[in-house]
């Protein structure tokens, strides 16, 4: 069984017991444990069910490469799925449960899939769930949905907070093992700004557990000295528990720091996302041990040899009393020796190599451990945990020569450098046949803005584990040279010594001639349940690209991302295709290296501060009045102001009728206001608008349309000429920033010799529309400006002091009523608004919102950008040829509008639509035409663009684009609805109300 030894465990603090709950069971661990080590100490060997076949799965690794031990962690607002036990620090009160099991881990229904494994081969979903089509909705889809995805999605809003931190470094070092520390010492002592990030909670990496000596002493001594030195350097920043998760263009790096995970609710962020810009990056990310592919290599109790050694040294956990070691290299002998020295039993070391020459096998034999060369594991016995192994010759087909009882298997298939960070931004790899691994090709690094490499690999990550100090020293000096900094020459290079290791021998399938039955039990990818037989099947079915094979078999998907399964899978594929591994190549390594929770990526940008809201100077008043707000760009505008028991429709109706019959006040502050000024301002606006602006007299306003170069309508608004060289261009509320940018683009990049300046003054002014038959009366009460018909006619503007306020009054109307828009410096906006309401109370003054505004403009047939336009509509479609100059030689969009498609008389054009039954046509409805197209869909001949209930007319009105619409006045068109009914409407003039304009011309 798996137990805690009575002494040892270099990371443990046995004085502090920590209680935790796993699948409802109360268990105990110590401070310093990971969740994985604590589970193993409690003999929880089986911790999960596999994804597809629901096979029992145990802990395989001790680091981020762990494929099986993913848990649902916490509950309620702190629930989080897919948390990896090997990288989760234990804390008092931790609660977790295993995933992919139902109803319980021990008795799982889905495990029946395992019995049907032969019908779930590679590409099963693609092959099976195709026919019959009718099965999709009710049979296939529910099954797939039920079984898809790892873990459960959280239900509640996350109770924790997360933050982002920006950092800059000359040299960023990922990984705090021997190589990372040495690189940091060289760069740091040379004066560079160094950031050293280590994903675990401990410095030194594998060196201690691998028995390394530095300068003739145990590695731990040198690690302590190096840390003391680095800590004292003000230019060096050290962080534990911080994973570099991605390397991006030009030295941009994301790292994820665990901050308050073990102390939930203490107010600190749970995690911190580092957003780093680094001059040079050194990846000292070490290497990951590979599994061996033998039958039953997924039975709980089969672990990576070095990970098993880590549990023993670091946490005093013995995963088994009797451990069989199986290997193709010398490194695994360190595990056998460590187990033996801890007083545990190692009945056999199975070494696939035929001849063993190194000192480590000799040392094992000297300790009395039986070693068999050229042997292999034929199969692992046991289901929920290892009970033994049957053995065979590696060179054969699996004929069993002996069986041995054991309760753990330590396997080692060699080591793969962690090349993820090197590869994220385009670094290329080389194949090393002696080590059977890919390592960074120093001649083809990821390139920075200067065209030179900005990432360097060091130590085991560079395939240089035996030579890590010198390799890191070299990397650091090269990085400094690249940065133009001088490396200190008086530093002595530490002498690193590892136990001598003889050559490994690549072993991709064990035994070499294993039959189909054995290969169907050899797992390549534990997490995605991909076996040797699946990859071989994919190859037989014609998959030759590694990227395609990955998708087809799901090898290396999900959180694995090529950590454990990559090389073994590639090797099996290469073998099946009769190619060499480097010719098959690797799949693409993509960030993040380990999963990052979405909360960390969002950081503080959630809730109210997800994005800044823009509020008009009168926003608080609207809020106090109980206005119902709607988003308009980043603005929040009152949609309507319900009173008492009114619903929104009632409120809109009241606001429209009151404005038409008495007096309405609209907060129009969000309207875009751009000043265009200079000797060439008129000429510039003549290019920007379809109409002529240069002839506009000072003191007058003119409505204008702006198009893009395709000719499509992009924005509209009223332009006022303030003086000879100054125009004030009003834009739509949502369009101000975009149009200002558009103006600047043309001025800076095309007509840079034209003398024009622009300024976006949208927020500098509050604007209030005073609308209705009593509008003039109200302004006259305030006094100070002559607003009579003669002094201020329609489409004129004046400047003056109104009721003590410095104002510009524009006599323009978007409602068809007598209307004044009053602009006032933003700081006066609220006071003027209050005063207008106070003085206008007995005249019936009421605020109205954006919906009443929309209804009134639709009653008048005025278009709205974004309703009548959708980026494919030209002004001519909207019957607005009157706003297009025929005389101007050019304007933006003119050439585009001359194309045959734009002048086609069959284009859909703007008309009014009057329902025969007075109802309101549903938003977005299409008008259908006779016949259907090649896909069996009904032909269409138009669509509704604006549709409202008109309180003024007491029935539904709409505007729409209809093929040849203006030629078809009086015809009836059909609008099918989503409920199966059809609304019939008559094509009419789009102006429904006061066609003569009598109401505004007073």
């Amino acid at each position: 069984m798996s137990t805690r030894l009575a002494s040892g465990g270099r990371f443990l603090n046995r004085a502090t017991v920590q209680n935790f709950v796993f699948n409802g069971k109360r268990l105990r661990g110590f401070a310093g444990d990971t969740l994985a080590s604590a589970l193993l100490a409690n003999d929880q060997m089986m911790v999960a069910r596999s994804f597809k076949y629901h096979r029992p799965r145990g802990i395989v690794a001790a680091g981020p490469e762990e494929p099986n031990a993913l848990f649902n962690m916490g509950r309620g607002a702190r629930f989080e799925p897919n948390q990896r036990a090997t990288t989760t620090a234990l804390f008092e009160g931790l609660e977790c449960e295993s995933q992919n099991h139902w109803p319980s881990l021990e008795f799982d229904i889905g495990a029946l899939n395992s019995l049907a494994a032969h019908v779930l081969p590679a590409g099963f979903y693609y092959k099976t769930f195709i026919h019959p089509r009718a099965f999709w909705k009710h049979v296939f889809e529910p099954i797939i949905r039920h079984s898809a995805g790892l873990g459960k999605a959280p239900q509640d809003r996350d109770a924790d907070r997360y933050e982002h931190l920006y950092a800059f470094a000359d040299v960023l070092i990922a990984g705090g093992g021997i190589a990372g520390l040495q690189a940091a010492c060289v760069a740091g002592e040379s004066g560079a700004r160094v950031l050293l990030l280590e994903q675990t909670l401990h410095w030194g990496g594998r060196a201690v557990n691998d028995g390394a000596q530095i300068d003739g002493a145990p590695a731990q001594d040198w690690i302590a000295a190096a840390l003391a030195k680095l800590t004292a350097l003000p230019n060096v920043t050290l962080r534990l528990g911080t994973t570099v998760s991605g390397v991006y263009d030009h030295g941009y790096v994301l790292a994820n720091e665990h901050v308050g995970e073990t102390t939930p609710g203490d107010g600190r962020p749970k995690q911190r996302l580092w957003r780093i810009r680094a001059g040079q990056i050194i990846t000292a990310t070490g290497a990951i041990e590979r599994p061996l592919s033998f039958a039953g290599n997924d039975v709980p109790g089969v672990m990576l040899a070095a990970s098993l050694r880590d549990y023993l040294h670091d946490y005093a956990v013995s995963p088994g009393d009797r451990t069989v070691v199986v290997t193709n290299n010398d490194d695994a002998y360190l595990t056998a020796i460590a187990l033996k020295e801890a007083g545990l039993s190692v009945p056999l070391i199975v070494d696939a190599r035929r001849t063993l020459t190194g000192p480590l096998p000799q040392r094992a034999r000297d300790l009395g451990i039986r070693v068999e060369a050229g042997w292999a594991i034929a199969a692992v016995k046991g289901t929920r945990r290892v009970t033994g192994v049957s053995l065979c010759m590696q060179a054969g087909e699996g004929g069993v020569i002996e069986e041995i009882a054991c309760d753990a298997v330590a396997m080692s298939g060699g080591w793969s450098p962690v090349v993820h960070l090197w590869s994220h931004c385009g670094g290329k790899l080389l194949w090393n046949p002696e080590q059977a691994h890919f390592h960074p090709d120093p001649a083809r690094p990821p390139l920075g803005a200067d065209g030179k490499g900005f990432v360097r690999a060091a130590g085991a990550a560079n395939g240089q584990s035996q030579n890590a100090c010198a390799d890191a020293d070299h990397a650091a000096r090269a990085a400094l040279a690249h940065l133009g900094q001088t490396a200190r020459t008086d530093l002595t290079l530490p002498v690193l010594e590892h136990p001598t290791q003889a050559a490994m021998a690549p072993v991709w399938v064990m035994p070499q001639g294993a039959n189909q039955k054995l290969r169907a039990k050899m797992w390549l990818d534990y997490q995605n349940d991909v076996k040797v037989s699946d990859v071989q099947l994919a190859a037989r079915e014609g998959y030759v690209s590694v990227e395609h094979t990955k998708r087809y078999t799901t090898l290396g998907m999900a959180t694995d991302q090529g950590k454990l399964s990559n090389i073994n899978g590639l090797a099996v594929l290469a073998d099946s295709l009769n190619e060499e591994i480097p010719q098959v190549g690797t799949t693409t390594f993509r960030p993040p290296y380990t999963p990052i929770t979405l909360g960390t990526l969002a950081g503080e940008a959630r809730g109210e501060i997800f994005q800044p809201l823009r509020r008009s100077p009168m926003h608080e008043w609207h809020s106090d009045q109980g206005a119902y707000f709607e988003p308009v760009g980043h603005w929040r505008r009152p949609y309507c102001y319900p009173r008492g028991a009114e619903n929104h429709a009632d409120a809109v109706k009241r606001e429209v009728l009151n404005t038409r019959n008495a007096l309405g006040l609209l907060d129009a502050s969000t309207l875009g206001k751009i000043i265009v000024k200079g000797p060439d301002a008129g000429r510039f606006l003549d290019m920007l608008y379809t109409g002529v602006m240069s002839t506009l007299p000072v003191g007058k306003c003119r409505y204008g349309l702006m198009c893009n170069e395709n000719g499509f309508l992009s924005d509209d608004g009223v332009v006022a000429r303030l003086d000879e060289q100054t125009f004030l261009c009003h834009t739509t509320s949502g369009g101000a920033d975009r149009i200002h940018g558009w103006m600047e683009d043309w001025l800076q990049c095309e007509w840079w010799d034209w003398q024009v300046f622009t300024a976006n003054l949208t927020e500098q002014y509050a604007q209030i529309a005073v609308v209705g038959p009593k509008a003039r009366t109200l302004l006259e009460r305030l006094g100070g400006v002559d607003v009579s018909k003669e002094a201020l006619p329609f489409m004129g503007w004046v400047e003056g002091t109104l009721g003590g306020f410095p104002v510009r009054i524009f006599r323009i109307s978007f409602s068809g009523e007598l209307s004044y828009e009053i602009a006032v410096p933003a700081g006066h906006g609220r006071a003027l608004w209050d005063k207008l309401h106070a003085e206008g109370a007995d005249l019936g003054a009421m605020p109205y919102g954006t919906e009443a505004l929309h209804v009134m403009r639709a009653e008048k047939g005025f278009i709205m950008i974004g309703d009548e336009t959708d980026g494919t509509v030209i002004p001519q479609d909207l019957g607005m040829s009157w706003a297009i100059s025929k005389k101007k030689p050019d304007y933006l969009g003119k050439r585009g509008q001359e194309r045959p498609h734009m002048t086609d008389p069959d284009r859909w054009q703007l008309v009014g639509l009057e329902t025969l039954d007075g109802s309101v046509i549903p938003d977005g409805a299409y008008a259908v035409a006779p016949g259907s197209n090649a896909n069996g869909q009904r032909h269409t001949e138009g669509r509704v663009t604006s549709t409202y209930f008109s309180p003024t007319l007491g029935r539904g009105i709409a505007m729409g684009l209809i093929r040849r619409g203006p030629e078809r006045m009086g015809q009836i068109v059909d609008f099918p609805t989503t409920t199966g009914t059809t609304v019939q409407a008559r094509i009419v003039d789009p102006v429904f109300y006061d066609k003569e304009g009598a109401k505004q011309n007073v």
Partner: protein, 107 residues
Amino acid sequence: MLTLECPYCGIKACETELAPGGQAHLVRSGAGASDDEFEAYMFARTNPKGVHFERWRHAYGCGKWFLAARCTATLEVFGTYPAQTSAPPARILQEISARRPDERAPK
């Protein structure tokens, strides 16, 4: 996440401060242009794997548009320059030919 130096304010700007504007040095074809000229202006883009001249706006900085010469494959930047020009300046072209002797000069 590119970094490009804004030639106006001299800031080495991160991509998050910038807004892209597509291919640089397009010649506008307005009223009177032939169909071919208009098509070339509106739609024909070079899309090279290699040296590319691009428009960028220092949108969250000084607000100015500038132009950049960049390799789309390696993301190497040969230089940035003000937008008030109809062709890449000589120093940019020299920089490109020094680093990419095989690259042909743009039309």
